[in-house]
Structure formats: structure tokens, C-alpha cells
């Protein structure tokens, strides 16, 4: 307070000088430097500013602070929610994609299986048919062989008979069967 008074006193003398020199108002001093009004001004300033300070700290600052905080919270909350929803959507997309991939791979598998089984069935059928054909072929071959053998066996007899007839025709004599056979055998070697 010492500083205040000293300064006020200093200001007052300065004011008197300035007022007297510049304004020429005579006795009337420059109002801002009129120390007789200071007590009242300080008193009313303390009262009004004190009230303002009290009102600010008790009502205004908590209220506006609260409003801003609520808004901040609300924004943060909304952002969180948006984030959450986005995560959910991402998860759904991932699940969908996974399912899609699974379905694709299972479709592939089913296709492969079907192809394989079809192939196996065809192979089996082919083998069966081949087997049957082979059997038929060998049967036919056996029959042909027997027919040929029989024919070959008959060839000797036919030749004998033919020889007998030819000899009879050519020389008019008879030739015994034994001789003919003997002759044929020597020809055959």
C-alpha cells in the first residue's frame, strides 16, 4: 500500500502541474488525477470487481467449463461409437470374405471330388469292358486255334485221300493207306 500511496501522491502533483499548464482550468484539477475521488473509486471497484470475481468463479466458469466439457465428452463419445461401428463393419466384411473364401474352396473341393469319382468310375468301367473284351478275345483265339488244329489234322487225311485218288487215276493201281502215309511223312520231312 505504501507504493500505491507514494505513486498516487506523485501522480497527483504531476496532474496538478499538467492541469495548470495545459488546461488553464485554474483550481479545477484534471479529473483522473483528483485524489479526493480515489477512495470512492477504489471502494466501488473492490466491491464490483469482487462481485464479478466471485460470480465468475462460482457460476460462470463452472458453467461454461461444464458446457465445453460435456460437448467434448459427447464428441469423444460419438467418435468412439463411430470407431466401434467401423470396427464392427470391418469385422463383418472380414467374416463375409472368409465365408466367401471357404465357400469357394469347398466348391472347388466338391468339384474335384466329383471329377475324381467320375474319373474312377470311368476307369473301372473301362477296365471291366477291357477285361470282358480280353476274355472274349482269348476265347475267340482259342476257338480259332482249335479250329485250325482240327483243320490241320484234317489236312493230312485229306491229302492221303487225295493222293489215293490221284494215284489210282494215274497208275490205276491201288496204294495202301500205310504206304501213302509213309510217303506223305517223308515229303513233310
Amino acid at each position: 500500500m505504501f507504493v500505491t500511496e507514494a505513486l498516487a501522491a506523485g501522480a497527483e502533483t504531476a496532474a496538478h502541474g499538467a492541469a495548470a499548464a495545459a488546461e488553464g482550468h485554474g483550481g479545477e484539477s484534471f479529473p483522473p488525477f483528483d485524489a479526493s475521488t480515489y477512495a470512492s473509486q477504489i471502494f466501488w471497484l473492490a466491491l464490483t470487481f469482487g462481485f464479478l470475481f466471485w460470480f465468475m468463479s462460482k457460476v460462470i466458469v463452472p458453467r461454461i467449463g461444464g458446457i465445453l466439457e460435456t460437448r467434448q465428452d459427447r464428441i469423444a463419445q460419438d467418435l468412439d461409437k463411430a470407431h466401434e461401428l467401423k470396427t464392427e463393419a470391418d469385422e463383418a466384411i472380414a467374416a463375409y470374405e472368409q465365408e466367401l473364401a471357404e465357400a469357394k474352396s469347398s466348391a472347388n473341393e466338391i468339384g474335384n471330388k466329383a471329377r475324381e469319382s467320375a474319373k474312377a468310375a470311368a476307369e473301372a468301367e473301362r477296365q471291366k469292358v477291357e477285361k470282358a473284351l480280353g476274355k472274349k478275345l482269348s476265347e475267340a483265339e482259342a476257338r480259332i486255334a482249335s479250329v485250325r488244329d482240327k483243320a490241320m489234322a484234317d489236312v493230312g487225311a485229306i491229302a492221303g485221300e487225295t493222293t489215293e485218288v490221284i494215284v489210282k487215276q494215274l497208275i490205276g493201281g491201288t496204294v495202301t493207306k500205310t504206304e501213302i502215309t509213309k510217303a506223305l511223312k517223308s515229303v513233310e520231312g
Binding site: 477512495a39 473509486q41 464479478l52 460470480f55 458446457i67
Partner: protein, 250 residues
């Protein structure tokens, strides 16, 4: 007397309350405008935020802007620790701002053009800084006057300069605001006075009065800027001084 540029600063008693313990505590026009300033500042902030709208109305966002403007000013200067002084800084800013702006109305008294008002506010700020500084840091608060890295020989000189600069703060803080408001209002009044006196000189005078009229209009705009700027400067310096109380080391 109407043309006297000093007339607007005259103080007259409305309700005389004389001699309270030897002091004259009369309710004057200054007191009236202090009450009006506080009523408007508090009333505006109170009424516009009454809805507590999540989505602010136009007026509510003005209050919120003032709040956030001051809050960021204080946070930038003094950090989050400084926020305990927020109601104080906000009160000072709103009081000075509303007082300055109210002074722009014709026939209104400008509370901040009174040196004792601005000086009392400055003393309040410095007093807060000193009291809080000693409360928080004890004698270490005096480290404010001892900058680091100064050679021992120069130390007494530097400390003296620091002490003087510290104690001249309330003076510069108060005189800056007071002088700006006072000078601005006197200039306005002088130029406005030219308009009146020239226009009594007939047709030529009325033509010539256009120049000071334009000047008055321009000055009015400038004064609105000054009214805001000085409130801002006062609040910013308050924040910086509070920072000294919180962090006395340089």
C-alpha cells in the same frame, strides 16, 4: 463546457456517502459504470449460457469464445498450472473489455480512463503474483530477480534492474490502459468538437466539417480496436506475470 474534451472524465456524486471513517465513499458516476460493467459482463455470460446448449446458440458461442480465448491465453503463458487463476484472469479480461467497450457509447463514462481504477487492477495482479509466489515457493520466489548465467560482478546491478523492472510492472500495466483510453477519448472528442464548431461557420464551414467528421468516424473504428486490444494486452500481461509466480526461474 460541452466542447471541453476533459468534461467527459469529470466525476460527480450520485449518492453522497461522505465521511465513512474519514473516507469519502460516495456512489459516483464512476461507481455507476463499474456496476453497469459488472452487470453487463456477468449478465451477458450468465444469460447466454442459461440453456447450456450442446449445440451453442449464436450468443452462447460468443461467451464460449471469450472463455476459450482467455483460457488458451492463460494456458499458453502459464501452462496448465496457471489454470487455477482462470476465474481471476477471465474476470479481469471481461471487466476491462466491457468497460472499454461501454466507454464507446456517447455520454458513458469510461471506467478504464481513470488511473486509479487501472492502477488498482494492476496492483491486484502484482499483489496476487507476489502473494502466490511466496506462498508456493517461499524465499525461492526471490530467484525471479536473479537470472542465471550472470557473472558475479554484474550480479548486484542485474538484480537491481530486475527489481526495478518488477516494481515498474504495475505502473506500466495501468498507465498503458489508462493512457490509451484517455487519449483515444480526448482525440475523439476534439475531432467531434471540430465538426460542431466548423458547422457554425456557414456553408463553407459545413463543407469543411466533413474532414473532421470522417476523422471521427475512422477514430471511432480505431477506438473499438483499441478497446479490445488493450483488454487483451492487459489480460496477456496478467497471464505472463502469473507465469512468473508459478515458475520464478527464468
Amino acid at each position: 463546457m460541452a466542447n471541453d474534451p476533459i468534461h467527459q472524465f469529470q466525476i460527480h456524486k450520485i449518492i453522497p456517502i461522505e465521511n465513512v471513517g474519514g473516507l469519502d465513499l460516495s456512489f459516483t458516476n464512476v461507481s455507476l459504470f463499474m456496476v453497469a460493467t459488472v452487470a453487463i459482463a456477468a449478465g451477458f455470460l450468465y444469460l447466454t449460457t442459461a440453456n447450456r446448449g450442446l449445440v451453442p446458440s449464436r450468443m452462447q458461442s460468443v461467451s464460449e469464445m471469450a472463455y476459450e480465448f482467455t483460457a488458451s491465453m492463460l494456458r499458453d503463458a502459464a501452462g496448465t498450472q496457471g489454470m487455477r487463476f482462470f476465474p481471476f484472469v477471465f474476470s479481469i479480461f471481461m471487466f476491462v473489455l466491457v468497460a472499454n467497450l461501454m466507454g464507446m457509447f456517447p455520454y458513458f463514462f469510461t471506467v478504464t480512463s481513470s488511473i486509479i481504477v487501472t492502477f488498482s487492477l494492476a496492483i491486484l495482479v502484482i499483489g496476487t503474483v507476489i502473494v502466490y509466489g511466496f506462498m508456493k515457493h517461499g524465499l525461492k520466489f526471490l530467484g525471479l530477480f536473479v537470472p542465471e548465467g550472470v557473472p558475479g560482478v554484474l550480479m548486484p546491478l542485474v538484480v537491481m534492474i530486475e527489481v526495478i523492472s518488477f516494481f515498474s510492472r504495475p505502473v506500466s500495466l495501468s498507465v498503458r490502459l489508462f493512457a490509451n483510453m484517455l487519449a483515444g477519448h480526448i482525440t475523439l472528442k476534439v475531432f467531434a468538437g471540430f465538426v460542431v464548431s466548423l458547422s457554425t461557420l456557414g456553408a463553407l464551414g459545413i463543407g469543411g466539417a466533413i474532414l473532421p467528421l470522417l476523422m471521427t468516424i475512422a477514430l471511432t473504428g480505431l477506438e473499438f480496436l483499441v478497446a479490445f486490444l488493450q483488454a487483451y494486452v492487459f489480460a496477456v500481461l496478467t497471464c505472463m506475470y502469473i507465469n512468473d509466480a508459478l515458475h520464478p526461474g527464468h
